[in-house]
């Protein structure tokens, strides 16, 4: 079957989803279940002076910081996020307490009647309070600037992006003989479990976390659910009854994590021959009020500083700024979309400023196998970008169109982005922090159970993992079982993030499947376990950010064609073409589905999706204000997958989920740039932004 692994299966979880039988968390019911609603801070910064409760009917109560048995901390990376504040709030929407009771309407009424008196303080919205600063250099760093013939500098700005998964966040939980059990819409069962252990100060066997069907996540259900879970677990621990906490859309949009707004300053030292001698980059990102995952987001952004290119001398620095705004966090791409937009536009802008042909100039700098990465690691595996660019150009008619459209000045444009995405956790994350474990268990009926913590949030883990095991063991897929992960059943194979699931977790599952196949005894209960071991040639120094930041890279080329309306400046997306190298597709149709969906998000990031705050309050509070693409907005898409098997991935698979997003924004921005003949340095390039550029340059 190995030759045909990419051949598509129909998704095994789809029939239940189509018929509405799949159970998402809001669909779950428990007897005598109570409802919880969160009371939140209406101010961006201040002290809580007094909380006045209305008369609480019997069976209704509030839950706050005083009810936390363990530490008042949501375990993420830094211990700076509280579950419930004691006496100070630092952003609008920060949870202060829960109101819990049997009737949802009465809970709502009580929550509205709670009066909280604050002493407001001056909030900080400017990017001045840096809490994390990283830097690294490559080659001679920025020394070549001293002798450069010319320096070219641009600053690129990106806004918030909201994950806008269709299913809002939520959990339902109950108390089961001394144990707290939570079922939720989550990406990372063990992140939640570990956060609960700390909040409840309990033994690991006193909390159990189960994934429900997840209605989309895109990073938004990576770290944020740990906060909701801690709040709810504290309530269940106090009340000892089932409680449901489901966000409304407005609440979800206003208070959950979003993509970090970024400002990226790039400067290039140009030699007399027009070549780039060195690049200087500074990446600033807005963490909001808690650091959360921002340090890791920053490092991924910085490491992507040269995009798909090789530049020999580099000086890269970055800052995470704290502000009194809603915390930002994980979102598909994780820092890379901001940086890829910036570097893709920058190389194009350098070429234009120098009067060079942008495409030829960019092709000259494309990374090649054995080149040094931005962090002086090595691109070990073959890089097929020249062939991929050629295919993308042929499919899209890029050469003729890019020659014709500027000449015709007919408000049409075509843009092409080159990009890569580091697969798996950055740096030593896999080896030192995650240490993924997987388990295959064959029961006496020869059914093989895949025991991993990787969740299906729409990307297809359920089908892909079963297919992988069935294919390796050469057994019918019906005899391979995958259930929603339950921390009482599965080992910690790590979070479902970072395009790591198939390459890392799937790689371990494949090894376990081979072991189980070799030792197969019919009718006997057998177990195969595997744990991640970093290949010893992968070296990474956390402090200096030097070495191999990732074990492997996926690559892509995306072309987008647009027509800009000359009167309304509406951007009509005509077509998008992409070529991806994700190693080997474990299921072609599922990879193409990732490609379509990721690109739609990436293009919308570049030209459609606007989210802003006004004095700390998010202005787009629902799907009417925050525009995501409809069926009428997306372009037709043509995608080609190139086989380039990665030796350590199962059947050669590398990461795919995030790759497909990162090329969208620069491709559409370049297309718009061609259509209007102005430099785009800020996304989203909305009609208003385009009008501003046309009228005022």
């Amino acid at each position: 079957m190995s030759e045909t692994i990419s051949q598509s299966l129909m998704r095994l979880d789809a029939p239940d989803k189509i018929a509405g039988r799949a159970k998402y968390v809001a669909d779950l019911k428990m007897k005598d279940c109570l409802f919880a609603l969160t009371v939140r801070s209406p101010i961006a910064k201040g002290k809580i002076l007094q909380v006045s409760l209305p008369a609480m009917p019997e069976g209704y109560q509030v839950v706050d910081h005083r009810d936390i048995p363990g530490e008042n901390i949501v375990k993420i990376i830094y211990d700076d996020q509280v579950i419930f504040p004691v006496d100070e709030v630092k952003y609008i929407g920060q949870p202060i307490l829960l109101v819990v009771g049997p009737d949802k309407r009465i809970v709502e009424r009580l929550a509205k009647a709670i009066k909280i008196e604050f002493r407001e303080e001056q909030p900080v919205f400017a990017w001045e309070n840096s809490v994390i600063r990283y830097q690294f250099t490559k080659g001679e760093g920025d020394a070549p600037f001293a002798s450069a013939a010319n320096t070219i500098s641009y600053t690129y700005t990106t806004g918030y992006q909201e994950q806008a998964y269709m299913e809002p966040q939520g959990f339902i939980g109950h108390y089961d003989r001394g144990k707290i059990v939570l079922v939720g819409s989550i990406q990372c069962p063990y992140y939640v479990k570990n956060a609960l252990i700390r909040a409840l100060a309990c033994d690991p066997d006193k909390v159990r976390v189960i994934q429900a069907a997840v209605g989309g996540a895109f990073g938004g259900k990576e770290e944020y659910p740990s906060l909701i879970a801690c709040e709810l677990a504290v309530a269940i621990n106090k009340i000892k009854k089932p409680i449901k906490l489901i966000f409304e859309r407005e609440e979800d949009m206003l208070v959950t994590t979003k993509r970090h707004p970024a400002q990226i300053k790039l400067a290039a030292a140009i030699g007399a021959d027009g070549a780039i001698r060195a690049l200087r980059a500074h990446v600033g990102i807005d963490a909001g009020a808690d650091i959360g995952l921002s340090g890791v987001v920053l490092s991924r952004a910085m490491i992507a500083a040269t995009g798909a290119y090789t530049i020999d001398n580099l000086a890269v620095s970055g800052d995470v700024y704290l502000t009194n705004t809603v915390p930002t966090g994980a979102f598909r791409g994780f820092g890379a979309p901001q940086m890829l937009f910036a570097i893709e536009m920058f190389i194009e802008h350098i070429a234009k400023d120098l009067g060079r042909d942008p495409l030829a100039y960019r092709l000259d700098y494309l990374a090649k196998q054995h080149d040094k990465t931005s962090t002086s690691g090595v691109f070990r595996d073959p890089i097929l970008m020249p062939e991929m660019v050629e295919k993308a150009m042929a499919m899209s008619g890029y050469a003729a169109k890019s020659e014709r459209y500027p000449r015709e000045a007919g408000y049409r444009g075509i843009g092409m982005s080159f990009f890569l995405h580091g697969c798996g956790f950055t740096g030593s994350g896999e080896a030192k922090t995650i240490k993924a474990k997987v388990k295959l268990e064959k029961d006496s009926e020869d059914l093989v159970h895949i025991l991993i913590a990787a969740v299906d949030m729409g990307q297809g883990v359920h089908t892909a993992m079963r297919k992988l095991v069935a294919s390796i063991m050469e057994i019918p897929i019906e005899t391979v079982i995958y259930d929603y992960p339950d921390t009482d059943q599965v080992p910690d194979s790590g979070p479902t993030v970072a395009s790591r699931t198939m390459m890392i977790v799937g790689g371990l599952v494949a090894r376990a499947a081979r072991a189980l196949k070799e030792s197969f005894i019919p009718g006997q209960h057998q177990v195969a376990e595997e744990q991640y071991v970093q290949p010893d040639y992968i070296k990474w120094d956390e402090d200096t950010m030097q070495g191999d930041a990732y074990p492997a890279y996926s690559w892509g080329v995306t072309v987008v064609e647009v027509a800009v309306d000359p009167h309304t400046y509406q951007v009509n997306l005509e077509h998008a073409w992409s070529v991806y190298d994700c190693g080997k597709a474990i299921d072609e149709l599922m990879v193409l589905g990732q490609a379509d969906g990721g690109l739609a998000q990436g293009i919308a990031y570049g030209c459609l999706e606007v989210m802003e705050h006004d004095q700390g309050k998010i202005r787009q509070k629902n799907l009417t204000d925050y525009i995501i693409p409809t069926a009428s907005d997306v372009p037709a898409m043509t995608t080609m997958l190139i086989d380039n098997p990665y030796p350590l991935g199962p059947y050669g698979a590398k990461g795919v989920g995030e790759l497909t997003l990162v090329g969208g924004a620069p491709a559409v921005a370049k297309a718009i740039e061609m259509a209007i003949n102005k430099r785009i340095t800020k996304i989203p390039a909305t009609p208003e932004a385009i009008m501003e550029l046309i009228k005022h340059g």
Binding site: K17, Y24, G215, G597, Q601, T624, I628, A631
Partner: protein
């Protein structure tokens, strides 16, 4: 409270209910018909789509008082039909399902569209789906599925 008579999934029902309750809540909370999803609660996403006299409607915007005398069909009932089987097959084969949260609503919207336009153009499919948001697929595979269903189900709509 008000007495309301209507048809739900082929059965005439008489209920005594607060007429301001949303049809969506009645379906999900009172009847446990959870195939109809709540994505936004404001008529923007279409996850709560039901057939209201054979037209796609957002059940989050329909108070029970407005249901009186009308015919409501949810995914649970529609999924017993031959037309559903054609749509299901097409959605499966085209890869039109990822997280699945929007899918029942998409199926309902597709049924409503195909009833009106059994041979829709791509532009008509896009307009027919424009009240239903999907964040996973980028829509192209859903559009292809409806194209396929229209072809394979010719004569059924």
């Amino acid at each position: 409270m008000a007495k309301i008579e209507f048809t739900l999934n082929g059965e005439v029902r008489q209920v005594d209910i607060d007429p301001t309750i949303r049809l969506l809540d009645y379906l999900r909370e009172d009847l446990d018909l959870t195939g109809t999803k709540e994505g936004c609660g404001e008529g923007e996403c279409g996850a709560c789509s039901v057939l209201f006299d054979a037209e796609v409607a957002n059940s989050c915007l329909v108070p029970m008082g407005n249901v009186a005398g009308h015919d409501i069909v949810t995914i649970e009932y529609f999924s017993r039909t031959e037309r559903y089987r054609i749509l299901e097959k097409a959605f499966l084969e085209q890869g039109a399902v990822q997280c699945g949260f929007c899918t029942p609503g998409m199926i309902i919207a597709a049924e409503s569209l195909l009833r009106k336009k059994p041979k829709p153009s791509d532009a008509e499919i896009k307009i027919g789906l424009s009240g239903n948001l999907c964040r996973c697929t980028g829509y192209n595979m859903i559009i292809a599925a409806i194209r396929q269903a229209a072809k394979e189900g010719e004569g059924l709509w």
